[in-house]
Symmetry: C2
Subunit: 444 residues, 2 copies
Amino acid sequence: MEITRRLARYIVTSEPSHIPDAARREAVRSLVNWLGCAVGGSQHEAVEHALAALEDYQALPQATVFGRRERLDIMHAALVNGISSHVFDFDDTHLRTLLHPSVPVASALFALAERRRISGPDFLHAFIVGVEIESRIANAIFDNHNTDWYITGTTGPFGAAAAVGKILGLTEERMTWALGIAATEGAGLRQMAGTMAKSLVHGRAGQNGLYAALLAAQGFTSSVDAIEGARGFAKVIGGVADLTDMLQGLGDTYEIELNTYKPYACGVVAHPVIHGCMRLREQHGLQASRIRGVALHVHPQALKLTGIKAPRSGLESKWSLYHSAAAVLVRGAAGEHEYAEDCVRDPTIVALRDRITASEDRRLRQDEAHIRIELDDGLVLECHVEHALGSVDSPMSNADLAVKFRGLVEPILQPEATDRLLQLCWALPELEDVTKIARASVPR
Amino acid sequence: MEITRRLARYIVTSEPSHIPDAARREAVRSLVNWLGCAVGGSQHEAVEHALAALEDYQALPQATVFGRRERLDIMHAALVNGISSHVFDFDDTHLRTLLHPSVPVASALFALAERRRISGPDFLHAFIVGVEIESRIANAIFDNHNTDWYITGTTGPFGAAAAVGKILGLTEERMTWALGIAATEGAGLRQMAGTMAKSLVHGRAGQNGLYAALLAAQGFTSSVDAIEGARGFAKVIGGVADLTDMLQGLGDTYEIELNTYKPYACGVVAHPVIHGCMRLREQHGLQASRIRGVALHVHPQALKLTGIKAPRSGLESKWSLYHSAAAVLVRGAAGEHEYAEDCVRDPTIVALRDRITASEDRRLRQDEAHIRIELDDGLVLECHVEHALGSVDSPMSNADLAVKFRGLVEPILQPEATDRLLQLCWALPELEDVTKIARASVPR
């Protein structure tokens, strides 16, 4: 069955008029969320280290590092903006697959836009098409794949290559090559959880896809059945053979409509627990010192991916259900500050963390959890979370997204510039040139 | 079992005095061979396309593209020199694993050398250590791995990271991170055979390893059990759990001593057939028009990897036993010219190709083959190749390597400059600054 070429044909022939309004609206919400994360993460030490490593070895000040004054050539801007927008683990999630759809596509497109003018409508269209491609590939493989691989590292290059290739106006043949090059650059091991290398995997995804499209545009060849071939992506990296679903409804349905945004700055599978702990804290005015023990009941995936008992760093604490629950019970929040180094070492949080147990319950959905808190006087409080805030069934509103955006961006840009940047993001579909957004993200 | 950290400790503590002369000699031979391939491949259209794609998006003229006048920043020089040195499929092979050891390590080191002076002895030491690391990792995983992956794409980043990290003087902790970052960037699908993307995989390996070491040098963290961890490289990409051999004899034996060089510009598993066809042609003054049919008997791997019956391009013809046998029977050679576009379309070669059959024989070793040729008068000629030229048991001599080097480099540099470059390569262990070699590779 021909897959790679048919995906390429879809990308090449897609027209803005094909895109339904709901997809367009969700794409703008995705970009608002992504940009807040990119600016918010831009002062993280992972970004500092990456910039220091590259400083001497790259060159033309072509493109913006969002939230910073440094400028990089576009290849490295795509990389570093990818790192910063993911480093808080606060970006978006395609919940079915755990793909983070925006990071590769937006990082690559915003970088390219600084060498080649891209209008808001063209940007939005290319972004939606890119997200569609990576999500469809992710849908086909996630089941066997997610325990071992970062699916954004493996499928993200397809999304970035598709979006950049769309802007460059590649022919069907060259778009097929671009997807083929993207296929052979997919990478990213879950062993990196809790380290800076996780954000590198996500930054590389966009950079690799950008390279892939630029190379293919010059006639650089690759396999034309890179996804479906006997030694191709689906079999070797995805471990699957049946790809019929990959083309089902292509051009009719849009995966971007299933995108979700995190209210909490950690692995999404921990969110139902955080949501429930926050509710119990607010309802009962809980004090950590009064809590004798906490029992969490979660979907098996939550324990598998966020089961670290005693995290040693801010980045590691994002993969600890125990830290998440303790931090939110003590501080009443689970934003980027609750996953910073000082919070991980806070004695009150550490002490409470050690009184928390978690067990898997296969009857629960991934966005569901049950929490049981016992107080020192023997009182028991319970909470069942049907759908965590930020899931498809309980989405963050535009107002929620704006609050999140301001929380991330104001410490870097100050309130007035933050408002201006936020307005520009909402107005992206009308911009003549999207670099306006990049310029507005730079602190004065 | 601690693997990643122990490999890092070995890299950090290795001293030039530990290296035996035989390893040192083989390293110089490896570099002579690699440099000939890099200059020889530098005019290939894959290199032209890569340069055109990067032209507008990279920057400082920091480092040499071997065999060309363009200069690139060191990140992209590592990439492009990796592409050109592999694009003819003429570089070296660690036969047990089919790893191409030099391309990632040499591409990364020569690029770094143009920003930070590296003496010949230091270069050689770092090169040997880098090859040791990637080869040991390859030894542990090749069995399950080689059918689907380019092992140089997956293990090469470790070699480049180790070598660059050694030159940068990383601490044990940062070297562990460098290997961890390299682990999560391994990539490269065999589906790319016969396309330019294959050389890209090999160029990326060195570039990724270079990045990994530069990032780790700044404190960019990664998993410290990236190779052996439950979601680490060995399990996820290598499909293996038993890694005890990886540390066996570390520091006592040197894998570089097992390196081999190709007399023919194609997949190494086709070499026994080429060797035998060449011998029959010479012994009997064979003419293609008189050949009724050819029956090849080969190791199963040869059919699996070079089984393309009707290659459509020069790059694809390197993966066709049939083309290789036909080309050598018609032209008496199997250098880069016999895998160029015009040779693949040569009617005499195409006609003979279609009269060739190949079958696997599990009793044969990988460097062994049997050839049976029937002539139009019914005469049958047979040849059994015990060890193909270029195998460990029948190595290319220094004189053979010099002939190969001149054949590759003279068309680009002219004879006098070729001799000078060759002399510099042999003299690498005494150079004060290895960039002398890079400068001497540029055509006037």
